[in-house]
């Protein structure tokens, strides 16, 4: 992380006092009380913030950001603190702006199929607010009972249903956002698309570097009439991958399409048996949802494809309890792997699905090289791979080895045409790998966008970008001396 700025640290008393004027009962500044904020879900990194402030109104957020700008102090926004990439990791010289008190559902508008909420409302609380009427909010990150919708917007969170229903970015209609300096902007509303630039689109997934989200309007969908699962076992990962490819090539977009390797199957069966085939080299869960007529047609087609692709076991859920049981193992995968641990690191790369077999083979070679074990769960429909690297933090050097192994895996993902992160974000975790995917010009163009929102780099600095450039430096144009002739191209 960037070295703490002494000029900020020496102003701490004054900063605390200014914040107390804005939010009299919402400033946390003793070391003991700040301790709970020292990390997010990437617990490898810990840092006490300069001070924590917990505003309750957008006006307070605006005043806080104005004061921060005036005093040249950094700000780290935080929702529920469930980021797996250190997106809300505090800085020693930054105000931690906690949005947990923004916890109200402001408006449910069934007729326009949207809900207006404050950013601290949890993902699953939105669904809970509307499920009695048969609706739900589609993106379902696995931390959904805890993670906040503001954090979901910041990270463009996904989940297991996003091949069919999209990510956060495909399910947002409106945002209220406060810029560094205190400007409050309202973007979108209950209508679709933006005139001029799609700022909602670019704020979504910006990891808290562009603005602080103070209100979100999300789209809600009617629950599918029915959903059924198919549990498939295959001799190898390659066979499972081929089946997934064939399902999609034949025009079927399942609501969920997950895959697990042998190590994961063994881990969940040891943790809490749920009837997964122990002899299989890979397991595929296909969930089809929609009207009963449609689901019945598609179930038969998928079963047919699976048999032709060499499935060694095939079970179709006959009732809701069975469908949920199919999922229970997948949903337990992380704690199950944790149980054989003692520690694990959850990685998050995306690859072109055709490269799956190659990537897993290379990963096995790397595992042998590092002397660490790895288990894989895979959002097979969209190519999002979650390797879980097992290590023992009490063994000297093991954490470092696990981190290095993780970095190698992500570089491998990029090498085969994939990306560093599918849904967890860059944060601090993958920051230094950004140059594996982007060249200097690509990164500088992204930083220039940052300058349009936050020219002093005060909002969540040290995340996403490996090196920080001053905006003035980025603004300089390399211009050839004198005038260039226009190139001699075909014309008409």
């Amino acid at each position: 992380m960037p070295l703490p700025e002494a000029a900020i640290l020496t102003k701490r008393q004054e900063i605390v006092a200014r914040l107390q004027q804005i939010v009299p009962n919402g400033v946390v500044h003793t070391e003991r009380e700040m301790r709970v904020y020292e990390c997010d879900a990437l617990t490898l990194y810990r840092q006490l913030p300069l001070v924590v402030v917990l505003p309750e109104t957008v006006e307070q957020v605006s005043q806080i950001l104005r004061v921060a700008q005036d005093m040249n102090v950094k700000v780290v926004p935080r929702g529920s603190g469930t980021s797996l990439s250190g997106g809300s990791l505090p800085l020693a010289d930054a105000i931690l702006l906690g949005m947990s008190k923004f916890n109200r559902v402001l408006e449910i508008d069934y007729e326009n199929r949207c809900v207006r909420v404050q950013p601290g409302v949890t993902n699953s609380a939105i669904t809970r607010a509307v499920e009695d009427e048969g609706f739900y909010y589609a993106p379902d990150p696995s931390s959904q009972i805890a993670c906040s919708i503001g954090g979901n917007v910041a990270e463009n969170s996904g989940g297991v249903h996003c091949l069919k229903y999209g990510l956060t970015t495909n399910n947002i209609l409106g945002l209220e956002v406060v810029l560094m300096g205190g400007e409050i902007l309202r973007l979108g509303g209950k209508h679709l698309d933006s005139d001029l630039y799609d700022l909602i689109g670019v704020l979504t997934g910006s990891e808290g570097l562009l603005g602080v989200i103070t209100e979100v309007t999300v789209r809600i969908l009617q629950k599918p009439a029915t959903a059924r699962g198919i549990l498939l076992g295959f001799p190898t990962v390659q066979d499972g991958g081929d089946c997934v490819a064939e399902i999609i090539a034949r025009g079927i977009i399942p609501g969920g399409l997950e895959m697990m390797d042998k190590a994961s199957i063994d881990a969940v069966e040891a943790f809490q048996p749920c009837g997964y085939p122990r002899d299989a080299g890979s397991l595929v869960i296909v969930e089809l949802d929609g009207t009963e007529a449609e689901v019945n047609v598609l179930i038969d087609r998928v079963a047919d494809i699976a048999v032709k692709k060499g499935a060694t076991s095939l079970k179709v859920s006959e009732n809701e309890a069975e469908r949920l049981r199919f999922w229970s193992g997948r949903k337990n995968a992380f704690p199950a792997v944790g149980a054989i641990g003692p520690d694990y690191l959850c990685m998050d790369g995306t690859i072109p699905r055709s490269q799956l077999s190659y990537v897993l083979t290379r990963m096995d070679q790397l595992a042998a090289q590092y002397g660490l074990r790895v288990a894989n769960v895979f959002h097979a429909g969209d190519g999002n791979l979650h390797p879980l690297i097992l290590y023992d933090s009490s063994k000297p050097g093991d954490s470092e080895k696990a981190e290095q192994f993780g970095a190698d895996i992500l570089c491998l993902c990029v090498e085969v045409g994939g990306v560093l992160t599918g849904e967890h974000g860059v944060g601090v975790e993958k920051r230094d790998l950004m140059d594996r995917m982007f060249n200097e010009i690509d990164l500088q163009q992204q930083e220039r966008l940052k300058c349009a929102f936050d020219p002093a780099h005060r909002l969540n600095p040290g995340k996403v970008f490996p090196t920080l450039h001053r905006c003035a430096e980025l603004g300089r144009m390399h211009v050839h001396n004198g005038q260039l002739p226009f190139p001699d191209l075909p014309r008409f």
Binding site: N112, S194, L196, V202, T350, P352, F453, L489, R491
Partner: protein, 451 residues
């Protein structure tokens, strides 16, 4: 090539003869594009960016000294049906991509509108259906917008040349990717004002095997819209929701109609259409409705007409496109009527969320009363068709509040600091003031954005 539409009518500030004689540069590859922009930067030459020019009628008339067409930068570079991904040079004809996808039972699920009817293009111009780059640049969409999204939701990544004269990329070729800012969202709908996309990577999807539509008539317009809104919340996976008022074209209307589209495997479509009709017959409000069906071929034809806004584009007049909350659709149209705007025809798509209006031409396109009404009900209004001289005076895109407009301008300058790309596309008032050390040299284009 001679059939291409003539270059945009010049804005009043440019000398007409100069613009009429404007060359169209045809870069053959990305390096050519870069060379053009580098020269433009060095010479401070504003550029008009286009594909085949099928959508030059959208947006303010561009002030430019040179025109750059990406039409020679063509071809699909990657297509993997089983991974639902296609990559193509920006100048690839949309029709070519659609034909390739159709061979594999796939399509661009966002059903990009064809602007041919709207802008009265000749048959020759329409064969290619514009370029894929242009389709993305205007964030095109169609009747499936609610379910399937717009171009923005399908652009996975791109490569482009910025107004700084630098090649950069963003995104990738995979569905799930949060690595760095999602610049794809920003470039989709940027109308060529940020960077020149040279290659785009898109998510493609299976084309539904069958489709049919349920037409409900013998309703009032309000009832038809209420039916559509209710339909968006039913678990029958209806994919499009349109309402045509009395007297609309398309030969269907006996009074206002609501029309719902059902797509999927044959058995499923048959079952669902019955369920839908049964459901609405049971609702007191819609019991008097008459329920008819459109079979496959007629249904496809109908929805492509809705996609291209045929009910309003087929007659002459100025055309507006309004995006609002579905519940506000009828009150908004009523308010625009009440403000004295002479509406010739209108219809609704997206369950009321999209309103197309054709109005009697006037010198200001009645922008003020229309936008005042839209501001009252929420949403935005885009002037889709009007003469160049009117679009040069009247903002085509919905004016933004001061702070938001300032941010949009800063975003523009982050990509195109000299405002060389499609200058004035977003209107003269949008053009940012540029602090350029070289601006003291008295090049005429420097004056336009200070005026």
């Amino acid at each position: 090539m001679a059939d291409l539409p003539s270059p945009e009518q010049p804005a009043p500030t440019a000398a007409p003869n100069e613009a009429a004689a404007m060359d169209i540069l045809l870069p053959r590859d990305e390096k050519d594009v870069l060379a053009v922009v580098e020269a433009a930067v060095a010479n401070r030459t504003p550029l008009e960016i286009m594909g085949f020019g099928s959508k030059t009628g959208l947006g303010g008339p561009v002030t430019a000294e040179k025109c750059l067409s990406l039409s020679a930068l063509s071809g699909v570079t990657l297509y993997e049906p089983a991974e639902l991904v296609l990559r193509a040079h920006a100048g690839t004809p949309l029709r070519e991509i659609q034909a390739l996808l159709a061979q594999n039972g796939q399509e661009l699920a966002f059903e990009p509108m064809d602007h041919g009817d709207l802008y009265g293009l000749t048959k020759n111009d329409r064969i290619k259906g514009g370029t894929i780059g242009g389709t993305v640049a205007v964030n095109a969409s169609g009747p499936r917008r609610i379910r399937a999204g717009a171009a923005r939701d399908h652009l996975l990544g791109f490569q482009a040349v910025s107004g700084r004269g630098e090649i950069f990329k963003s995104g990738g070729r995979v569905m799930k990717n949060v690595t760095g800012y999602d610049l794809s969202k920003l470039l989709a709908g940027s109308h060529g004002t940020l960077a020149i996309m040279t290659e785009v990577t898109l998510k493609v999807l299976p084309r539904p095997e069958n489709e049919e539509s349920v037409v409900v008539s013998n309703l009032t317009e309000d009832q038809a819209l209420a039916l559509l809104r209710m339909a968006t919340g039913l678990p029958y996976d209806i994919s499009s929701f349109s309402c045509l008022p009395e007297g609309s074209l398309l030969g269907l209307a006996r009074g206002p109609i609501a029309i719902l589209r059902i797509e999927g495997p044959h058995l499923s479509v048959q079952k669902r259409k019955e369920e839908i009709i049964t459901f609405f017959r049971k609702q007191a409000m819609f019991a008097k409705g008459q329920y008819d069906l459109l079979q496959e071929a007629v249904s496809r034809e109908f929805w492509s007409a809705v996609r291209d806004a045929l009910p309003v584009t087929a007659i002459s007049g100025q055309v507006w496109r309004l995006s609002t909350a579905p519940t506000e659709a009828a009150p908004l149209v009523t308010a625009i009527h009440a403000a004295g705007v002479p509406i010739l025809r209108w219809f609704y798509d997206w369950a009321g969320g999209l309103i197309w209006l054709c109005i009697e031409p006037s010198t200001d396109a009645h922008a003020e009363p229309i936008r005042a009404a839209v501001d009252r009900f929420g949403g935005h209004a885009t002037l889709m068709r009007a003469d160049d001289c009117i679009r040069a005076q009247t903002p085509v895109f919905h004016p933004q509040a001061t702070a938001l407009a300032a941010l949009s301008q800063r975003v523009k300058l982050a990509f195109d600091p000299l405002s060389l790309l499609n200058r004035d596309k977003f209107g003269k008032n949008f053009e940012p003031r540029i602090s350029d050390p070289k601006s003291s040299d008295s090049k005429p284009e420097q004056q336009t954005h200070n005026s």
